[in-house]
């Protein structure tokens, strides 16, 4: 395999084996140098014939096992929804559905009223996104650039919420939503029950504040001298240069709301108001298997599409969260 790929390169040179190996030796590091750092495996070892054989075996094993572990279940899900109940129960199973039909998907869409469930979820995710951006961006801006008295205390209190496991305060938070103190509102079965708690996100405030801290003071002072108010500075100076972090926060918020299970399970018990995860889960035992599987496919399409489109942002958010400590 490796010889085949390297052979044409060598054609201009003296076609003897030792020289060829040497050339390979030069070629490899040059390629890796551009793409990434040197890793635990020595490039010299990698370029020996044995090293290359081992490398290709490992590569093929990893690709095959990853595909089997992570792609095959999804393939099984997508095709399973096209099979009839008899075909699903057949032993041995059919690898391809006996005939291509979208009947399962249509049935799932009708039976579960997936259009409404998806619409609800989009409403929750969209509203949470807008509210989170508005609330957390202005809070982070105030803490980072306006630096009020007790700002450090407020930030500390906000970050302290990261230490509290969310499941543990689930019950008192549920009670709060049911009867908001002072106002006496009952937010159960309203989108506010999702939106307001989503905005109370210490991690977003942390990410945004850290980014705003890195914006040079001179930039804001120049705007201030021009007579811009703090609100104007935030809108016309800070937000335009904070696009990358706003992207990360947006995606994190939308994906979290979309994926969340426990919180919507508690605060949106009404079947008209359910999010898509809850709706499917609550009806899962009453449906034929192929319809259930079809609904799972439909429910995962939006997040997969978001992943396709915003892969880089999502991965940036992931590492931003972990490496900061």
């Amino acid at each position: 395999m490796s010889n085949v790929t390297v052979m044409p390169d060598r054609s201009a040179e003296v076609p003897s084996a030792p020289v060829g190996r040497e050339r390979r030796g030069q070629r490899r590091p040059r390629k890796t140098f551009h793409t990434q750092f040197r890793t635990a495996v020595s490039p010299h070892q990698l370029n020996t014939t044995r090293g290359r054989i081992v490398y290709w075996i490992v590569l093929v094993t990893v690709v095959v096992s990853f595909t089997a572990a992570f792609v095959f279940p999804l393939y099984w899900m997508v095709t399973g929804a096209m099979k009839s109940t008899e075909e699903l129960n057949a032993i041995p199973p059919t690898f391809l559905p006996s005939h291509f039909s979208l009947e399962g998907y249509l049935q799932a869409w009708e039976l579960l009223d997936l259009g409404r469930l998806l619409g609800n979820t989009a409403l929750y995710a969209g509203g949470a996104w807008l509210l989170t951006l508005a609330v957390d961006v202005s809070a982070a801006y105030a803490l980072s650039k306006l630096r009020p008295i007790f700002g450090k205390v407020v930030l500390g209190l906000m970050l302290s919420t990261l230490m509290i496991p969310p499941m543990v305060i689930m019950l008192p938070a549920y009670l709060t939503v049911r009867d908001v103190p002072i106002f006496g509102w009952n937010l159960l079965n309203t989108p506010w029950a999702i939106w307001l708690p989503a905005a109370a996100n210490g991690f977003n405030v942390f990410l945004l504040k850290r980014f705003f801290d890195s914006i040079p003071r001179e930039l804001l002072e120049a705007a201030e001298i021009d007579g811009a108010s703090p609100g104007r500075i935030l809108w016309s100076v800070v937000i335009p240069i904070s696009r990358p972090i706003l992207g990360v926060v947006s995606i994190l918020t939308v994906v979290n709301v979309w994926r969340d299970f426990v919180w919507p399970l508690l605060v949106l018990p009404d079947s008209d108001k359910m999010s898509v995860s809850i709706g499917i889960a609550s009806l899962s035992s009453q449906m034929p298997q192929n319809v259930l599987v079809a609904s799972l496919v439909i429910a995962s399409i939006p997040t997969i599409v978001v992943f396709f489109l915003f892969q880089r942002h999502i991965m940036a958010g992931l590492t931003a969260g972990s490496l900061k400590g």
């Binding site: 390629k31 793409t35 040197r38 890793t39 635990a40 020595s42 070892q45 490992v58 590569l59 690709v63 792609v71 279940p73 099984w76 399973g80 699903l88 129960n89 032993i91 041995p92 609330v135 202005s138 809070a139 801006y141 105030a142 306006l146 630096r147 407020v154 919420t161 230490m163 509290i164 496991p165 969310p166 499941m167 543990v168 305060i169 689930m170 019950l171 008192p172 938070a173 549920y174 709060t176 939503v177 908001v180 708690p197 109370a200 979309w258 426990v262 995860s277 889960a281 899962s284 298997q289 429910a299 997969i304 978001v306 992943f307 999502i314 992931l318 972990s322 490496l323 900061k324 400590g325």
Partner: protein, 307 residues
């Protein structure tokens, strides 16, 4: 704050004294902060305090709450499911760490060595993380079906006897661990991969010049260099897995014979099935104290190492 601001703002406008400017800046700042303060106060800070208060009270939302001391704690401790819940949660955490902590790290080390298909592998390993957890869990419920599920079909293919998976006390918990690992390992893998890429290549070169073989290079360079992230991830993962809920809720309902009941699941049952919210709170408080220990270590570690 707002009432005090009006005269101060006027004073500031007439003659911009130092004090006037400072007051005005603070008023503006808290204006920007008020939305966040309200959200945090109602949905984070107040529930944190209330969690503690409710644990020592009896409330039924009609009569005023009554202080009952440790009665709620007595109720949960005497529940026959109390012991199994903690044992299962601990066991789940240990098993989930064995799979979900080691596998992503090894995977990341291997991925870091590969020169081809990197984008594909990174994409694929993260794919399950993007599925809504309910979808992953219900998908595996289908795979676990003892009659026609994918797993038993595969075992069949190799002429192995099928398993009962979720229906047997001996395999139910490990079945939950498998789902949990499948749907969560992507994020760990990518985080480790990012950490591995920050290791300076000179260290490997130096180790190689000193005659260290591949495994010694991993042991003496890779692991020490990623020690911090490994520790942070360990703590985060303990805290996350100890809150396991959705897997038992959707797959087993705590059964068979309490083999998969977890602390949070029991807490949910107290609040919504047994109608004893205060006992659920007491259980939550116990879990909070346990998890706070790990959180405190995490905070300590990350603070000591980022400044």
């Amino acid at each position: 704050m707002t009432t005090a601001s009006i005269p101060a703002a006027h004073g500031g406008r007439r003659q911009p004294t130092k004090l006037g400017r400072a007051v005005r800046r603070n008023v503006t700042a808290y204006g920007f902060l008020c939305g966040a303060l309200i959200c945090f106060a109602f949905f984070s800070w107040y529930p944190m305090v209330r969690e503690v208060i409710l644990s020592f009270q009896r409330t039924n939302f009609v009569d005023p709450p009554k202080w009952v001391g440790l009665e709620n704690f007595r109720t949960v401790v005497n529940d026959p499911a109390f012991g199994p819940a903690w044992v299962n949660t601990a066991l789940f955490t240990v098993l989930a760490l064995l799979c979900g902590y080691g596998i992503p790290f090894v995977t990341a080390i291997v991925l870091n060595e590969l020169r081809h298909a990197r984008a594909y592998l990174r994409f694929v390993v993260y794919l399950p993380v993007m599925l809504p957890p309910a979808v992953s869990v219900l998908l595996f419920q289908w795979f676990y079906n003892p009659d026609y599920g994918l797993f038993n079909q595969i075992l069949n293919l190799f002429h192995l006897p099928g398993l009962q998976w979720l229906n047997s006390t001996s395999t139910a918990l490990i079945s939950l661990v498998i789902v949990s690992t499948w749907m969560n390992m992507g994020s760990g893998t990518l985080i480790y991969l990012a950490a591995l890429q920050t290791i300076p290549s000179e260290l490997y070169e130096a180790a190689e010049l000193d005659g260290a073989g591949l495994f010694r290079r991993i042991w003496h360079v890779t692991i020490p260099q990623t020690k911090l992230i490994l520790l942070v991830m360990l703590l985060l993962q303990i805290v996350a897995t100890m809150q396991v809920f959705i897997e038992p809720y959707l797959l087993t309902g705590g059964g068979p014979e309490n083999a998969t009941v977890s602390v949070v699941y029991l807490m949910y049952q107290y609040a919504f099935n047994f109608g004893n919210l205060n006992a659920g709170n007491a259980l939550g408080l116990m879990l909070m104290i346990v998890l706070m220990v790990f959180s405190a270590i995490y905070l300590r570690v990350s603070r000591d190492n980022t400044v």
